[in-house]
């Protein structure tokens, strides 16, 4: 087997060196009835070519986004990934390293994490960011739990326009941790009045920016209302490229930003792995979940980086940790930070403008069907009939037309709504094809 270098001759020498008759004898502590005498009933080993052939066939049974006009968003976005990103993240010293527990030989990982944390702060307008979480939904759930600790309260007010999968991820933890979510109903045109839901029990208000339906709202007043009652404002961002064009949540008074970073550097990959971003104010640092990289010096006084403030984390604090997270999304964070470094200030702003301009062009073409008054690169369209059926029909015609709201909000009366996302990868022909199909 090509990945297993120990030969039969090695095995003999090694068994003799340790005074054991056989490899099987090393499993003497396993209760005999639990030891399998034969290999498990599964296929035998296969050559590289054979595995490649079989899995390529499975891949061919999917319709990749690049093959058709493509408009799906709702938490995962199709952006162009520069070739250098994918090349660099596959350097073995990045790809095959572990969590940087030995900083002297992990400065590569640690320095990019420090740069990544800085970039996340700049994008979100926040003061401190961690080294990543699993994805935007788990980051959101962690944000609510952190707000509960900070405010010493246990009820979160949740916007009806938060991605339902994010809401549900938080709801799972709410059920088992015993906190409460006060969830508003969805409001596709925006204009929710959440402030009146805040009371003396509220730890935080959770809103999405842009929201599920694509709406953009200024949350400054909501932040003030929350703060006036001792609650925090949690702002969720599922399309991080938007922050190249929009005022950052930090400038609106957000206390925690929980975001999905997949859009930069990472493929859609059927929804995972993705990249949870988490940023907050320094005064809440001690309650923050996840790993943090910090600057320090070595024994010769040279600048270097280490994982720090680990007294919040499970491996030190055990049952008193702020979160149980250990492995996060390191390599996705690397892809994110390389892509953002390539873009830089101007590149990101241009990318964001391009996304917005293309989306605005589609909105102009669709005219009266557009439900969302202001948006970044995704908006809601009202169809004459069932949106899920239309999406299925258009898929048959070679257009992946977007995400029907009924897929995310089943059983509500929003069946005629379709979420449409447009990025720099959507060209004029794609826009024309969708406009024609939805006329």
């Amino acid at each position: 087997m090509r990945y297993l270098p120990i030969t039969e001759a090695d095995r003999r020498v090694m068994l003799e060196a340790i005074g054991m008759p056989s490899v099987e004898a090393l499993f003497a502590d396993v209760p005999e009835e639990a030891l399998l005498a034969e290999p498990v009933n599964l296929p035998p080993h296969a050559s590289e070519y054979e595995v490649e052939k079989r899995l390529s066939r499975l891949a061919a049974q999917n319709r990749p986004a690049g093959a058709s006009p493509f408009f799906c968003g709702a938490g995962t976005y199709r952006h162009h990934i520069p070739a250098a990103v994918d090349h660099l993240i596959q350097r073995g010293e990045f790809l095959t390293s572990y969590t940087p527990y030995q900083p002297e030989i992990a400065q590569g990982t640690l320095q990019y994490l420090f740069e990544f944390q800085t970039q996340v702060c700049l994008l979100t307008g926040m003061e401190v960011a961690n080294a990543s979480m699993y994805d935007g939904a788990t980051a959101t759930a962690e944000a609510v739990m952190m707000a509960n600790r900070v405010a010493r309260r246990s009820k979160a007010v949740v916007s009806g326009n938060l991605h339902p999968h994010y809401r549900d991820t938080a709801a799972t933890l709410a059920r088992f941790q015993g906190f409460t979510l006060d969830c508003a109903p969805p409001q596709p045109q925006g204009g929710e009045a959440l402030a009146r839901r805040i009371d003396a029990e509220t730890s935080c208000v959770v809103v999405q920016y842009p929201d599920l339906f694509g709406n953009i709202a200024d949350y400054s007043e909501l932040a003030e209302a929350a703060h006036a009652k001792g609650a925090l404002l949690v702002v969720v961002v599922t399309e991080i490229v938007a922050l190249g064009a929009l005022r950052p949540p930090g400038a609106m008074g957000a206390d925690i930003v929980a975001a999905e970073g997949q859009s930069l550097g990472n493929p859609m990959s059927f929804g995972g792995p993705h990249l949870g971003l988490f940023a907050t104010r320094t005064r809440h640092l001690r309650q923050m979940p996840g790993r943090l990289c910090g600057e320090t010096v070595d024994a010769e006084g040279r600048r270097g980086y280490v994982l720090t403030l680990a007294t919040r984390e499970q491996h030190i604090r055990r049952e008193r940790a702020t979160s149980n997270i250990c492995t996060n999304s390191g390599l996705c964070a690397l892809a994110f930070t390389i892509h953002l470094t390539l873009l830089g200030e101007t590149g990101l702003k241009r990318l964001a403008s391009l996304n917005h301009a293309r989306a605005a062009e589609l909105a102009d073409r669709l005219g009266r069907r557009v439900v969302t008054p202001s948006f970044f690169n995704e908006f809601t369209v009202r169809l004459d009939g069932d949106a899920a059926a239309a999406v299925e029909r258009l898929a048959g015609e070679g257009i992946l037309a977007g995400v029907p709201v009924s897929r995310l909000h089943p059983g509500t009366a929003l069946d005629d709504l379709l979420l449409v996302a447009v990025t720099e990868t959507t060209d004029g022909d794609d826009l024309a094809a969708l406009a024609e199909a939805l006329r």
Partner: protein
């Protein structure tokens, strides 16, 4: 000082090139991506356009490629050499798996595109489930958790849900037994769900003593969380008795499957009375650890817990695979979408490449390699459980043999760095003093193991001869880093010159 570092004009030394932060290489006007400038037109941003400078630096592609290449050269990976990090299973990462995960049919598909257009992806998930169920002998597997700790959360929530469903007496159960040797995520997970963590001490054999365990099983027991093989590197041979006792007491058996590499293809957790167990695809099934993730932590469930598995689940209807989003008893959703697809492709490629015969050889060689190291090194370093039965895939040492030398476990680890080795896991598990947990994995050659033992024996001799190792490493990109300073005066982001100060004044 006159070492070579100070002798060069630049301060760099051959391939050791100092690399500034991207923020210090800002060259306004440089671009690494060519997107056209869009003509100004009326925007639809609702008066929320970003007016301020974001503060991101500008670099062209050649500068960026060099930056990350130089950073990579400051890192040690499995591709560099032996990475014996106990509990982490740092084995070879086949490049075929990288290629396959990048096929557009897997990488360029959206989680919410019509199910009819992603049948191959769903079939791949099904196929991975089939392999995992066959290897564990468990009837159900939830693919969604993002890593091991997320899998623990999944399994323990299922246990909570099952207890809640049994009525008030069961729902009031709060006690979860966790051995002192457990990984930090175990107690952290249990506590996050409102359970009360009760510690189980290890006995002299590095195992749970079944009689003492039974004494802890009073009323109110919800579950036991056990790692098997455990973090002391041995198999919990009383596992049947432990499982029976916890079931008898009305609780469930959660197994931390981080060490599945020791038994894959030889022992099925389903035959050991386990109710839930996570598998780290980034350990046993070789998806790259990537400097801290992403991982994947699928959880296998017994018949009793299967109804509570999270959503979405993959179901088959009229020959078509679908994602089922709602289900009566489910514990709910754990993540934005359906799981770590990129990791599933890699893990399945790994499984298919090895096959049932190769997987059996994986555990055999992993255990053989660990025992070989244990026997060859037990003279050099004290090994507390070396004679408590064969080791599994890890060899545990402690610092008793260093006691009079003034050399610490940390010194040994840092001296290994100078020798071109990645250190083993140190100071974990907590149940032995100055722990050194060595996990060679099956992908090391005998020559590599021999080199390792020679170095370790040499370091032990130096320690005993009074050679101070407290200055090590000397030859790494950095000498020892001041972790106390990092924590006392946290600097967690770059600030423009003049603003460089601690992020947290007064902490």
């Amino acid at each position: 000082m006159t070492d070579a570092f100070h002798d060069t004009i630049s301060g760099d030394r051959g391939l050791h090139i100092e690399e500034p932060l991207i923020f210090e290489q800002d060259s306004p006007g440089a671009l690494g991506v060519d997107w056209p400038e869009v003509e100004a037109r009326v925007d639809r941003l609702g008066a929320l356009a970003r007016e301020d400078a974001i503060g991101l630096p500008s670099l062209a592609e050649p500068t960026v490629v060099r930056h990350y290449t130089r950073l990579s050269q400051k890192n040690y990976g499995i591709d560099t050499g032996l990475f014996p990090l106990g509990s982490c299973t740092m084995k070879h990462n086949p490049r075929l798996n990288e290629r396959l995960a990048r096929l557009p049919g897997f990488a360029d598909i959206h989680p919410l595109q019509p199910e009819s257009s992603v049948q191959g992806a769903l079939r791949l998930c099904r196929e991975l489930q089939r392999w995992l169920m066959a290897l564990t002998g468990m009837p159900c597997v939830a693919l969604t958790p993002g890593a091991g700790a997320h899998g623990e959360l999944c399994g323990m929530m299922a246990i909570r849900a099952a207890l809640d469903a049994q009525g008030e007496e069961s729902a009031a159960r709060r006690r979860v037994l966790v051995p002192d040797s457990a990984h930090g995520t175990n107690p952290a997970t249990a506590a996050a769900l409102g359970f009360q963590v009760v510690s189980i001490p290890e006995d002299a054999r590095g195992r749970v003593d079944p009689a003492r365990f039974e004494a802890l099983l009073e009323d109110g027991i919800a579950a036991v969380m056990l790692t098997n093989p455990n973090t002391c590197g041995v198999f919990e041979n009383d596992i049947h008795r432990i499982a029976d006792a916890v079931h008898e007491a009305g609780g469930y058996f959660y197994c931390d499957g981080a060490n599945f590499n020791a038994i894959v293809g030889r022992v099925r957790p389903g035959d050991l009375g386990i109710d839930a167990m996570h598998l780290n695809l980034h350990k046993t099934f070789s998806t790259p650890h990537g400097g801290g993730g992403p991982g994947a932590g699928p959880v296998v469930f017994s018949e009793a817990l299967a109804p509570y598995a999270p959503v979405p689940r993959i179901v088959e209807e009229d020959g078509l695979l679908r994602l089922e989003e709602a289900n009566g008893a489910t514990l709910g959703r754990m993540k934005a979408f359906h799981g770590q697809m990129g990791m599933f492709v890699r893990a399945l490629a790994y499984l298919m490449s090895h096959g049932s015969d190769g997987l059996r050889q994986v555990s055999g060689d992993a255990v053989l390699n660990a025992n070989y190291l244990l026997r060859r090194l037990e003279g050099a370093f004290s090994a507390p459980f070396a004679h408590a039965g064969p080791a599994m895939h890890e060899a545990l040492f402690d610092d008793r043999s260093l006691r009079d030398s003034g050399v610490t476990t940390l010194d040994i680890a840092k001296a290994m760095i100078d020798e071109g080795l990645h250190p083993m896991t140190v100071y974990f598990p907590l149940v032995v003093h100055g722990a050194m947990l060595v996990e060679p994995t099956e992908t090391e050659t005998r020559a590599s193991l021999d080199r390792f033992t020679a170095i370790m024996q040499g370091l032990a001799e130096r320690a005993k001869a009074g050679v101070a190792l407290s200055e090590a490493p000397h030859h790494a990109p950095r000498r020892r880093l001041d972790e106390t300073r990092a924590a006392r005066r946290p600097v967690l982001r770059w600030q423009p010159a003049g603003n460089a100060k601690s992020d947290v004044p007064g902490v």
